[in-house]
């Protein structure tokens, strides 16, 4: 929470309120201690602020604008888009595929970010905490490898792994099968895929959080006779709640915006894995409806904001 505030301060720090100026000048005159004058400081910040403006704020505003038009990828509406007001938004709310995408996305986030990465990552971190450092290092390196590999490479590994006829998974299974996993269990497949990909990060995060607890706290509980579960409930979780919520926030937002599952299933079969980013992609680039895609993107932006606000709210409430 505090970091968010500080971040806010930094961003808001550039257009300084006028009434702050005299005191600063007084300080300059009095001590001559300020090395950078206000103008020089602004000069240093300007490039970064400019880049943020060009690459983050402008596209976001541009997307909002496009969402209010009927601009298309090609054709007449590409050259001369018309302002259509909220038409795109009402259309989205009436499109059953939009609702399908929303539901699939929520299941995907719940399954892979919350249950998968967070729960599995935390469990791994907790179980590995007492292990000898060597074994742990090896496991950590392996898990991190899974994380730093490029998404496209991993996607093809998983296609090979899940393939029906020559797939590694079917070969490993003790019974003979030629299940086409990506066709028969597509949503489960991409959930497992994304869990596999993101658990490393979660594990490292939680491992660091668990390590921040002084050993004497856990040892006091052990001496009182607390079981592993009691130690977790009474000592560990209350203490790393902040880390936990921050990680949940990051992992859910990243997963919510993830496009990589497209490489595995292209949203199919029959839209079963069409998460919102894929839906946007299909509408905007396959069907050329850029304006509509932009409107959906704006909705996604809104949902991201809601997720963030929810976590921040919980975090603030629990902290006080």
């Amino acid at each position: 929470m505090r970091t968010t505030d500080q971040a806010g301060d930094v961003e808001g720090g550039e257009p300084v309120p006028d009434d702050a100026e005299p005191s600063d000048e007084a300080q300059d005159r009095a001590g001559g201690a300020t090395i950078l004058g206000r103008i020089t400081a602004s000069g240093f910040i300007a490039p970064a602020a400019g880049l943020i403006g060009i690459f983050l704020i402008f596209p976001a505003l541009w997307t909002l604008y496009l969402g209010l038009t009927d601009v298309r990828l090609t054709g007449a509406a590409a050259a001369d888009p018309q302002f259509v007001g909220l038409d795109n938004y009402t259309a989205a709310l009436q499109d059953s595929l939009f609702w399908n995408a929303l539901v699939v996305t929520l299941i995907f986030v719940l399954g892979s970010a919350i249950v998968g990465q967070t729960v599995l990552g935390f469990t791994l971190a907790w179980v590995l905490r007492g292990w000898r450092s060597r074994t742990r290092q090896v496991i950590e390196v392996l898990v991190i490898l899974a994380w730093i590999m490029p998404g496209s490479v991993v996607a093809f590994l998983w296609i090979a792994f899940l393939d029906g006829r020559d797939g590694t998974l079917n070969a490993m299974l003790p019974f003979v099968t030629d299940t086409e996993w990506l066709l028969e269990n597509p949503l489960t497949s991409i959930i497992v895929f994304n869990t596999w990909r993101g658990t490393a990060f979660a594990m490292l995060l939680f491992g660091a959080a668990i390590n921040s607890i002084p050993p004497s706290h856990l040892e006091t509980a052990r001496l009182a006779g607390a079981s592993g579960w009691q130690q977790l409930r009474d000592v560990v979780l209350p203490r790393i709640r902040g880390h936990l919520l921050t990680a949940l926030l990051l992992l859910s937002m990243w997963t919510f915006n993830l496009f990589t599952p497209y490489l595995l299933t292209q949203g199919g079969p029959n839209f079963e894995t069409e998460i919102l980013p894929i839906y946007v992609f299909r509408e905007a680039f396959n069907f050329g409806r850029l304006g509509y895609g932009a409107a959906i993107s704006a909705i996604m932006l809104l949902i991201n904001l809601l997720i963030a606000l929810f976590y921040i709210h919980v975090l603030r409430e629990r902290n006080s």
Binding site: T220, A224, V235
Partner: protein
């Protein structure tokens, strides 16, 4: 309440550090026992082994009648107070104190009643609903002790519980700890590297070095009759004078180029020409006029105020001798120094052991006093 028996305990850490080395120790029921030694000598490791937080490489530990060597910490019925107190920041004081009872599934009202009693005995009654962050260091320390008390264990283990307090608070805390332990009568193992704490608190104490016990005994005994040079140099807020000397053919001692008589208790025990170390506490010395027979003569160099008395350093030839006196000479003045013979100790310079009338038996160092 129970005695603690340790037999042949060895702890070797991965990486080869031998923190505890084939150590035997008996702590009696209801006793306040201190472990004293320099940093890294294995005190904490020994304490944690008793608690079950370290697995011994070899040896046995029993508490009461029970061999606990392979028993997990939670079933040993011991309570430990850590140097950092280990209070849970998210719990109020009362819940911190009651935590061991919560683990054992006492009802909430029972927990709070007993936590209240423990808190009362440590004058924490007013603070029950505060969070640890809102307490002073001394209060936090008492909460940690109260938690151990509420646990009602058969053994208390303390690992330098007072080292985070300032000097005055430490004195206060020392007094209440001693009284509390006396009232409860629970066997207590107390680790410290502050010798004044060990001397003040203990029924018996052990001085450790390099994972071994050098001497066990009552504090007075360890203070006045250290059995080897290490203990002699380690104990005492003003270090003991330890001076190289040689016995002479006519039954005297040559000390800093001067001749002094062999102290009474050692008369007739020493063959001529033996290298011995002359040990005497500054508190047992006195100043005489220069060239008094039987005293060493030298020049007073500095006088430091200790409070009511002065510590005077006298340069005799090339050695420095220190004496506590209430009547300090002016620096530069020639003075004589004499030590009360009854308190003087002679150590064999070779094996660093105290010279005694009968040769020390092999197991003597570990004798339980």
């Amino acid at each position: 309440m129970a005695e603690v028996r340790i037999e042949g305990l060895t702890k070797r850490f991965p990486g080869g550090v031998q923190a505890v080395d084939d150590l035997d120790l008996d702590i009696e029921d209801g006793e306040f026992f201190s472990l004293l030694g320099p940093s890294g000598c294995g005190k904490t490791t020994l304490l944690r082994s008793i608690a079950g937080l370290e697995t011994p490489t070899a040896g046995r530990i029993s508490i009461g009648e029970q061999d606990v060597t392979r028993i997990p910490p939670g079933e040993r019925d011991v309570a430990m107070v850590f140097q950092d107190y280990a209070l849970y920041p998210h719990m109020e004081v009362v819940d911190n104190i009651a935590y061991p009872l919560k683990v054992r599934k006492h009802s909430k009202s029972d927990r709070h009643r007993r936590a209240g009693e423990a808190a009362e005995s440590l004058s924490l009654g007013e603070l029950l609903n505060r969070r640890p962050a809102a307490l002073s260091g001394g209060q936090q320390q008492r909460v940690a002790v109260a938690r151990a008390v509420a646990h009602e264990p058969s053994v208390f283990l303390f690992d330098e519980p007072l080292s985070n307090l300032d000097a005055r608070l430490r004195l206060e805390a020392r007094t209440f700890l001693k009284r509390l332990q006396g009232d409860l009568g629970v066997s207590t193992v107390y680790v410290t590297h502050d010798q004044s704490e060990a001397l003040a608190l203990s029924d018996r104490m052990a001085v450790m070095k390099d994972g071994r016990i050098r001497q066990i005994g009552a504090p007075e005994e360890v203070f006045s009759r250290p059995t080897d040079l290490f203990v002699a140099s380690f104990i005492g807020s003003v270090p003991m004078n330890l001076l190289a000397s040689t016995t002479t053919a006519d039954g005297g001692l040559e000390l800093a180029g001067q001749r002094v008589p062999v102290p009474g208790p050692y008369e007739g025990m020493l063959e001529p020409n033996r290298s011995v170390t002359f040990g005497a506490r500054p508190e047992h010395g006195s100043l005489t006029p220069p060239d008094t027979p039987g005293a060493m003569t030298g020049l007073a160099v500095v006088a430091e105020l200790l409070g009511t008395e002065h510590l005077v350093t006298v340069e005799c030839g090339d050695v420095m001798v220190r004496v506590v006196t209430s009547d300090p000479p002016t620096p530069g003045e020639p003075v004589g120094v004499r030590f009360e013979e009854a308190w003087v100790l002679l150590f064999d310079t070779e094996d660093e052991q105290l010279i005694r009338r009968e040769p020390a038996a092999a197991g003597d160092v570990r004798s339980t006093g």
